[in-house]
């Protein structure tokens, strides 16, 4: 159960963390921008670190939810992968702050606050998808962890690019199509 005030706190924290960094934004400012008292913030989150981790988990959860929207076992592997690819890029384009926050968090010492099991729990399904593609000889016979980081960073790069040129919808769709082909060509 997430109350209204709690939502406001997370919303303000996201905006401010992206703007000024984790340590660069005092809890007092988060509370002020969220329209709540300082003490209220610490009622919901015992420490500032806990707030940061909660925000990260919340955003990661929303992305994961969206990611597999529309995939179906009747479709081919390539079609499903493309749906996941497009879902991720579209989500990133529609949630720039969230995506930037995740990147910031991932390349910060705060990442160590997430338990390794939690990370591998989130990663495992993706590795399994790649494994099946290798088994079916769709993908090259490379370590799946290697393909995973390449795929991930390809998506990061595309998000950056899309963010920078801010294309129209049609152009964005074309870009996603084209870059997926590049990726596909690389891995098959």
């Amino acid at each position: 159960m997430v109350s209204d005030k709690q939502q406001e706190i997370l919303k303000a924290a996201l905006r401010l963390f992206v703007e000024s960094g984790f340590h660069g934004t005092p809890t007092s400012r988060i509370a002020k921008e969220a329209g709540v008292a300082n003490g209220t913030l610490f009622h919901y989150y015992k420490t500032k670190d806990e707030l940061i981790v909660a925000l990260y988990s919340s955003i990661k959860g929303k992305l994961n939810e969206r990611m597999h929207n529309g995939t179906q076992s009747e479709l081919s592997f390539k079609e499903n992968l493309k749906i996941i690819y497009a879902n991720t890029l579209n989500w990133a384009a529609e949630h720039k702050e969230e995506f930037y926050f995740v990147q910031q968090f991932n390349t910060s010492p705060f990442l160590s606050l997430i338990a390794p099991e939690e990370i591998s729990r989130q990663t495992k399904p993706h590795l399994e998808i790649l494994e099946s593609a290798v088994r079916q000889k769709i993908f090259k016979n490379l370590p799946v962890e290697l393909m995973f980081v390449l795929l991930n960073n390809h998506i990061y790069g595309m998000s950056q690019y899309i963010h920078n040129i801010a294309p129209e919808d049609a152009q964005k769709k074309q870009l996603i199509d084209d870059s997926f082909d590049l990726l596909w060509r690389m891995l098959t």
Copy 2:
């Protein structure tokens, strides 16, 4: 001119920033680990931000220096690109902290402390290399900025992977060879 004490300050700052983040490491701790007094740090760098930016520029400079080591106009475009690719990955593997620091800096609000002209000054030579490859019809006819982010993020991903599996020298060389082929296949 960079004095000994100044070097020690930069060295300690790098280690601590990687460990605890920018705001997570007080200047007092940097001074202590560097074996200098607190005031000495502020003698060399007027503010903490100035120290962070100086460290970033210093590291970026060293990477850029190394990057083009061994390239020659007599070699083919592909050979030269591969040299740059391998130089970058080897440098990253030999300077894990430096590389991590750069990534951390790039995905932080501190990046805005670098003037846009400074950034484009560093990026321009690379874009020109890509442009010439497009002109010679070696690479696909895609926006060079797109290829640049893909190339960059490919390298980031590979660095992560190499860091994680910590391969022997022979295996690392093989990995660099193979992944370069993947990249080449994608862009041509």
